[in-house]
């Protein structure tokens, strides 16, 4: 499998190493080359400096048509833009965006993005540790809800988010 990871923070670097160790072809991108210090010295994948919210840079880095695209930078909005670029302009079928604001995470699920909300996962982990029942929506990557957006830019048929309001 070919995987592309935007953002070489702890999460991005950790995932890149796991995927590469399992034999997948991994490209990881970050705006700062210092971020690549988080990667193991023997990391077999490609580490490229670049801005993952820029379509041209993503293309040059070979993000077009990869099997998996993970947007894991520090910024929710940057992840949302990068993920939508991958899905809409680069033809990537499986895209995950880290969106730490629970309201935004839920809203973008309804717009066709699979999201990972660290806030919700942590809150749920600590709440269950405290003896509260599990939040059924807080399990790993939350898949997109309903249909993807129409390709002519029309917005009809986009579901209203179920949670967060």
């Amino acid at each position: 499998m070919r995987a592309f990871i935007a953002g070489c923070g702890r999460t991005g670097a950790g995932l890149a190493e796991r995927l590469a160790a399992a034999g997948h072809e991994v490209t990881i991108m970050d705006t700062s080359t210092e971020a690549f210090n988080r990667l193991d010295h023997e990391f077999p994948g490609r580490a490229l400096r670049g801005d993952a919210t820029d379509e041209d840079q993503l293309r040059r880095a070979g993000a077009e048509g990869v099997d998996l695209f993970f947007a894991l930078t520090e910024g929710d909005n940057r992840n949302i833009l990068a993920a939508q670029l991958a899905a809409e302009s680069l033809g990537v079928a499986q895209v995950v965006a880290k969106v730490n604001d629970p309201v935004r995470a839920e809203a973008y699920r309804a717009l066709g993005l699979a999201t990972l909300c660290r806030t919700r996962l942590l809150v749920d982990a600590l709440a269950t540790y405290s003896g509260l029942p599990r939040d059924p929506g807080a399990e790993g990557v939350a898949p997109a809800i309903g249909h993807h957006q129409e390709h002519d830019g029309a917005t009809a048929g986009v579901a209203v988010p179920v949670g967060g309001r």
Binding site: E55, N77, I80, L81, Q84, D101, R104, A107, G153
Partner: protein
Amino acid sequence: MYVVIVGGGKVGYYLTKELLAAGHELVLMEKDGRRARQIADEVGSIVLQRDGCEGKHLEEAGAKRAAIVAAVTGDDEDNLVVCQMAKHHFDVPRTIARVNNPRNESLFRHLGVDEIISPTRMALAAIEQDIPVHELLHLAQLPGGRLELIEARITEDSPALGRRASDLSLPEACSLFAIIRGGNAQPIRSDTALEVGDTVLAISRTESENQLHDALIGAAEGGDTD
């Protein structure tokens, strides 16, 4: 008409003033406290110091009853998120995004943003059209954002030619402070008469730039772009 503007940079600031002058009801959201207070001092309590990318803050700003949400921050990703949240979460009929990277224009349209403002494209178009020879040149923006350092070349057509600095009708709060003549800088005194080839250095309010242009270079010919 009720309008929510997100981003209190130059675009947001002038947009706010124009729309207020035209009698619209609006709220400006600016997350930076200092910038928000600065604008509020001038336009009043319609400034909300909040991040417009957050759903609950957009709701506080009354996005549900807004006819237009305009996202004009300097960050494309923020503008996209504001518009998408407005459109799909609050059913705002019309969303406008400032797009800084021209490459993002078609994606934003495709993702449901109704109107695109592209300062980069506009600037490129203006430059390609013609480069005015005797224009004022912006050297720097001074801290605070309201004053600019400007350079103007005195030509044969300049209404200021041969006149003394103290006789010029300059806009309020504008100051000429030095000229460069024959490769040397010298301070401008009240009896300094301006000559062809002089480069005048001035500090002016951004909004008085046109008046300064008229005084030093002469009224613009034909259609002046802003």
